[in-house]
């Protein structure tokens, strides 16, 4: 039986030890959503070396950036060996990295997934009743269900894509088995919105695009809207929603084009210690 690989995303260098000691296969280090949170060169080198020394795969994850962030990433990647996997969420970073020989992966911000909408079910069930039942299946699809979309990135040699694990959509994702590409699935926190003008920074009294010393990696807020029956989570400049993940969902995933599942280390997932991370890994393996 082929086991699903497990990647752990780390944005806080202080959590590296817990992750290095876990049974995960790869460590995604960097910043997925915020260029201000891109690691320093020192942190990157430390994380890179420690990950390789532990026998795990190092993956560098990058956010959407302005020119300032681009410059920083250009400096950081020079310290990674060619062939290192880099997750990109910005077409500018894609353009820049085409000059190198890294193993590029398309992040979830570059793949549109309608089911990420918090009220997808209530909105479209009523529509489905009036129109066609097939509607519900279409809304379980993502950009990855569009051949032209996949082909666009294949022309640049990119065949690895990230997506959120949304339980209702898993059969649709599995059934698009296509030898051309592979998928990594994020588990636990579904992306709903990202901003440059950070909502968390605003909570700390900072407006505009700058933020300084806002302890966002250690802050997590629950946003409740009772009338809409809506619960969201604010982490830094990103809003997530959550869905319960049934453990049988991981069965047979690795036989299709889904090769890896990913979760976060830290406050977003609640996994701060090695045994918590290992428990998650066991959960994905049905143990």
């Amino acid at each position: 039986m082929i086991l699903l690989k497990v990647g752990i995303q780390v944005e806080n260098i202080n959590l590296m030890t817990s992750v290095l000691n876990s049974q995960c296969n790869s460590i995604r280090f960097g910043s997925e959503f915020c260029e201000i949170k891109l690691p320093s060169l020192k942190s990157l080198k430390e994380a890179y070396k420690n990950t390789l020394d532990s026998g795990k795969e190092f993956v560098f994850i990058t956010p959407r950036v302005t020119n300032q962030g681009l410059k920083k990433i250009e400096e950081l990647v020079l310290n990674l060996e060619q062939g290192t996997r880099i997750v990109i969420n910005d077409l500018g970073i894609l353009n820049m990295l085409l000059n190198y020989d890294f193993n590029l992966e398309i992040g979830r911000q570059l793949t549109f997934f309608p089911a990420s909408c918090p009220w997808e079910n209530s909105t479209f069930i009523s529509y489905a009743k009036k129109h066609h039942l097939e509607i519900l299946d279409i809304l379980k699809e993502s950009s990855l269900n569009h051949t032209e979309y996949i082909n666009f990135f294949l022309t640049y040699g990119i065949s690895h894509f990230d997506l959120d694990l949304i339980p209702d959509c898993i059969e649709v994702i599995k059934n698009v088995y296509n030898k051309k590409y592979i998928i990594s699935l994020y588990v636990g926190n579904i992306l709903v919105a990202v901003t440059r003008k950070c909502h968390t920074a605003r909570l700390f009294g900072q407006n505009g695009y700058e933020c300084s010393n806002v302890p966002c990696v250690e802050s997590l807020y629950e946003l409740n809207q009772k009338n809409m029956d809506l619960k969201l989570f604010l982490y830094g400049n990103t809003i997530f929603r959550r869905e319960k993940i049934p453990n049988h969902i991981f069965e047979n995933l690795s036989t299709k084009n889904i090769k890896e599942v990913i979760t976060h280390a830290g406050i977003l997932s609640g996994y701060k210690y090695t045994d918590q991370i290992d428990d998650f890994i066991k959960f994905t393996r049905g143990i």
Partner: protein, 342 residues
């Protein structure tokens, strides 16, 4: 670049001074698929209406851009969409632009009409020079930049590329990146019935949320944590025009044509003063507008009606003219016309 959602609107907006107009067309068979937060009223209703708008615009010497910026496509709806594209292509001219926000859709349409100009929608979230370069490499002739950029960042992008650069100057917006926002693109029927229509835009970001800190378990109370307001950039127009951007975009395809025309007229008047070098007149006019609290009135045949840019009109100037309500807050923050700190 002004928004249009009807033939009547096109006449008004062109009469108000728009150089270019942009619009979408209802897709037969996909009316239920409100993927872009747009209700049916945000688009031209038929191919007949499309023909009328395109012919009128061409006869008026106004450029046209057809919006096909759905940023989701799948195999299941591809055939319906292709049929729609072909219908539209029979009507628009070879100089008319197509606005696209999905790379798969771009690939699809480009194969059908390789020669028409393509504009990269803001949904492709272009925020840096390498993105703009990539957009140009793959065949777009213009990019509509992401809203959340400073004027200096826009200038850097303009300098670095031969692409035409289009920026937002007025309309609704919020802090969330448009191309990644799943709150925006799916209007919830419950939301539409509960929220009052404010400028035709009903984002959930305007709701109050009860905010709880999950770390220290404290409640921060109810607040409008996710902001969503109408934005303006009249004060930044001189800098924007000097930065070399090619087009200034007004948001509002979901608004009524009186508002669309009124906003177009105001920006036309202000930008003409700037283009003619009449900066003193521009400043005087701006001061009058702001202090009269009559910014953005429109005529509906019964006199001047104020545009409702906030629920409380008496606080209009205060709400609109503040750092958080400018499209370019860095400009608002004590920067003079040379972009230097006062």
């Amino acid at each position: 670049m002004s928004p249009v959602n009807s033939f009547e609107g096109a006449k008004r907006v062109i009469g108000a001074g728009a150089d270019e107009i942009y619009f979408g067309v209802l897709i037969p068979g996909l009316e239920w698929f409100i993927i872009n937060r747009e209700g049916i009223s945000c688009n031209l209703q038929s191919y007949d209406e499309l023909k009328k708008v395109v012919d009128f615009a061409h006869n008026s010497g106004v450029q046209v851009a057809l919006v096909m910026n759905m940023h989701f496509m799948s195999k299941s709806i591809e055939q319906i969409f292709k049929k729609h594209i072909n219908q539209c292509l029979e009507i628009i001219g070879s100089d008319d632009a197509i606005i696209v926000g999905h790379l798969g859709i771009y690939n699809m349409i480009k194969k059908l009409i390789p020669d028409n100009p393509f504009y990269a929608s803001t949904l492709l979230i272009t925020t840096n020079t390498y993105s703009a370069d990539f957009i140009q490499k793959i065949g777009f002739s213009r990019v509509i930049l992401e809203r959340q950029l400073t004027i200096n960042e826009i200038k850097d992008i303009v300098k670095s590329t031969k692409l035409e650069i289009e920026v937002f100057i007025h309309g609704t917006g919020c802090s969330n990146l448009n191309g990644n926002c799943y709150l925006l693109h799916f209007p919830n029927p419950l939301l539409l019935s509960e929220l009052k229509k404010i400028d035709g835009f009903n984002p959930p970001c305007r709701l109050n949320f009860k905010v709880n800190n999950l770390v220290d378990k404290k409640s921060l109370g109810n607040m409008q944590i996710l902001d969503a307001y109408t934005y303006c950039s009249l004060c930044s127009l001189p800098q924007l025009i000097q930065s070399g951007v090619h087009a200034l975009k007004i948001v509002g395809r979901c608004q009524n044509f009186e508002k669309q025309a009124s906003v177009t007229k105001i920006y036309r008047e202000f930008s003409e003063l700037i283009a003619e070098g009449k900066i003193a007149s521009y400043k005087e006019k701006l001061h009058k507008f702001r202090s009269s609290n009559k910014l953005f009135y429109y005529e509906n045949g019964h006199g001047l009606i104020p545009l409702r840019m906030s629920p409380d009109l008496s606080r209009f100037a205060e709400i609109c003219c503040s750092q958080n309500r400018c499209y370019f807050p860095h400009h608002y923050d004590n920067v003079n016309e040379n972009n230097e700190r006062r």
